[in-house]
């Protein structure tokens, strides 16, 4: 309705009261998850190798969520969006979590010789293709590139978060203009870095295979995963009395619409990659899909088609779920789980042809990383308000309605 914009100073805008229980839950998850995973890995044959592989899955998944947050914030500034101001601070914090992902990248680098076939100096000696690619695919350049990616993402995310927090105190609208101006070149940097990071971290698992759309594929995973977890984060905050009135059904509705749209985008990109390779039918390209439609992986491929595309499409196409925060949070959690299965499907067939060996180790490793990621998010958000308090478009966002 017109004329009765909420006064946000009446809202609870800090995590003070809810922080301790949240941190305890996160810590328990991290300890049980990583502790249990390490114990299980040490007591089973090939356990450490399996752990490294599933660790890469969860690492790429949580990195995707962070990068999705970074893209979202950049996009809001590029488009001068008004509706999203009340939820942007949470997205900024998710994006800044990319620093935690940088630390969590260490085990991937540690396991480089197991995870990446090209990292074996001996492999290149017998393989002319690997020898030709050795100038790019070698351990030291790989690590240098990872450092560059994380620096670019981290600096951008920190800049956006810090500038926004600085505005909480000063209310200076020039800061908004500054973020807008830098977000456009930031978007280009983001596109380049996520593209090459996807090539390095995931595509090079099979160093013989190549797909020019693969970077876009990983980008679609990242934005879908981010949009899928956001309603859940917001709902959890509101249930604990944070921003009870500032975030309305209208904001959830928009997340639902974006999630629906980008999930279709994911399917579009996935099919675009598949169809060209299927049509051309060149062995050096088709072998990647052959692995994923042989044995149990064929079932996982079908689960992705129906579980990741068809079902979420039907669930989110009407406004019924999009306008009910709890249902949207649950649906989002389901779509996020499907995104994880998608990353699993990208990684594990390279190590386990024919057998989709999903088990306790995968769950524990996911739990552990979820605990660390969530704890870092809570600790980050503790330091400031959970809403961009003096953003010039805050009123527009508070009064926002889907026409």
């Amino acid at each position: 309705m017109q004329g009765n914009v909420l006064d946000i100073t009446t809202e609870n805008r800090h995590l003070n009261g809810v922080m301790r229980p949240a941190l305890i839950i996160c810590a328990v998850m991290a300890v049980i998850g990583f502790g249990g995973a390490l114990f299980l890995a040490n007591t089973t044959e090939h356990g450490i190798e399996y752990l490294l592989e599933t660790y890469l899955v969860s690492f790429a998944f949580f990195l995707a969520i962070s990068l999705g947050g970074l893209f979202f914030v950049l996009l809001q500034h590029c488009t001068r969006a008004g509706w999203s101001v009340v939820v942007r601070r949470v997205a900024e914090a998710v994006a800044a979590n990319v620093w935690v992902m940088a630390a969590l990248a260490v085990p991937v680098v540690y396991g480089i010789h197991h995870l990446y076939h090209w990292a074996d100096a001996g492999a290149a000696a017998h393989d002319p293709l690997l020898a030709a690619k050795a100038g790019f695919l070698n351990p030291s350049f790989f690590i240098i590139r990872l450092v560059i990616y994380f620096l670019v993402w981290g600096v951008m995310a920190s800049f956006l978060l810090r500038t926004s927090v600085a505005q909480d105190a000063s209310g200076d609208p020039k800061l908004t203009l500054r973020m807008e101006r830098l977000s456009a070149p930031g978007m280009i940097l983001f596109a380049l870095t996520i593209n090459f990071a996807a090539f390095d971290i995931l595509m090079s698992l099979d160093p013989h295979w190549f797909s020019t759309i693969f970077g876009v594929y990983y980008f679609s995973v990242s934005i879908v995963a981010f949009l899928a977890v956001m309603p859940k984060i917001l709902y959890a905050l509101q249930m604990r009395g944070v921003l009870p009135n500032a975030i309305t059904v209208e904001h959830y509705h928009d997340f639902g619409k974006l999630l629906f749209g980008f999930n279709v985008f994911w399917a579009y990109i996935a099919f675009s990659q598949y169809m060209l390779i299927w049509y051309a039918n060149i062995p050096e390209e088709t072998e990647w899909f052959l692995k994923r439609q042989t044995g149990e992986w064929a079932t996982v491929s079908l689960i992705l088609i129906f579980g990741h595309f068809v079902l979420p499409f039907l669930l989110l196409v009407s406004r019924v779920i999009k306008r009910r925060p709890l249902l949207l949070a649950i649906t989002g959690g389901y779509v996020a789980a499907m995104c994880w299965v998608d990353v699993y499907w990208l990684v594990i067939p390279e190590f386990s042809p024919g057998v989709a060996r999903f088990g306790l180790l995968d769950v524990l490793c996911f739990l552990g990383m979820n605990g660390v990621f969530s704890a870092a998010l809570v600790l980050r958000m503790r330091r400031h308000s959970v809403i961009a308090e003096k953003d010039p478009r805050l009123e527009e966002s508070l009064a926002f309605e889907n026409a």
Partner: protein, 184 residues
Amino acid sequence: MSNAAENAKLYGYLASFDLVDEFLAAAAKVRDAGYTRWDAHSPFVIHGLDAAMGVKKTVLPYIVFLAGLTGAAAGILLQWWTNAVDYPFLISGKPLFSLPANIPVAFETTILFAAVSALIGMLALNRLPQLYHPLFTNRSFKRVTDDRFFISIEAEDPLFDATKTRELLESISGRSIEEIEVHP
């Protein structure tokens, strides 16, 4: 206000408002009085007007969804009939009827059917295009594209009563109510 011909029929009453808040409150009162054949006119989009008028949710999404499904089925059928049945044509060793190759065309026909039905459905549900409307005969109504808000109640509304409806509109607008006539 009008010197209508003998055979002119009453179309309805027209009330005008200066402010958005008055206008929304008035719409809510007309809604609560139970009228069904009435409309609110404004120069721009007003958030909350749909709720104030008690406008029901449109059925358009269901029409579009069904049209989209029809489009997908039509696209698949078309390719099956043309390539696998009527004129079998082998392309790069693929099966005559194979789903991956058919998806792009099926996608396009889905979008085509859905988009066209959205446009035609929207026009049909709004009874557009409508080149003439009795309200256009009213002089003051021209300000609806500039700085006035209007509520009109049609004489065909089952609750319409020449005096009671006039009194209702006068009580909520505080101004004189205009009669709109239809000239057959």
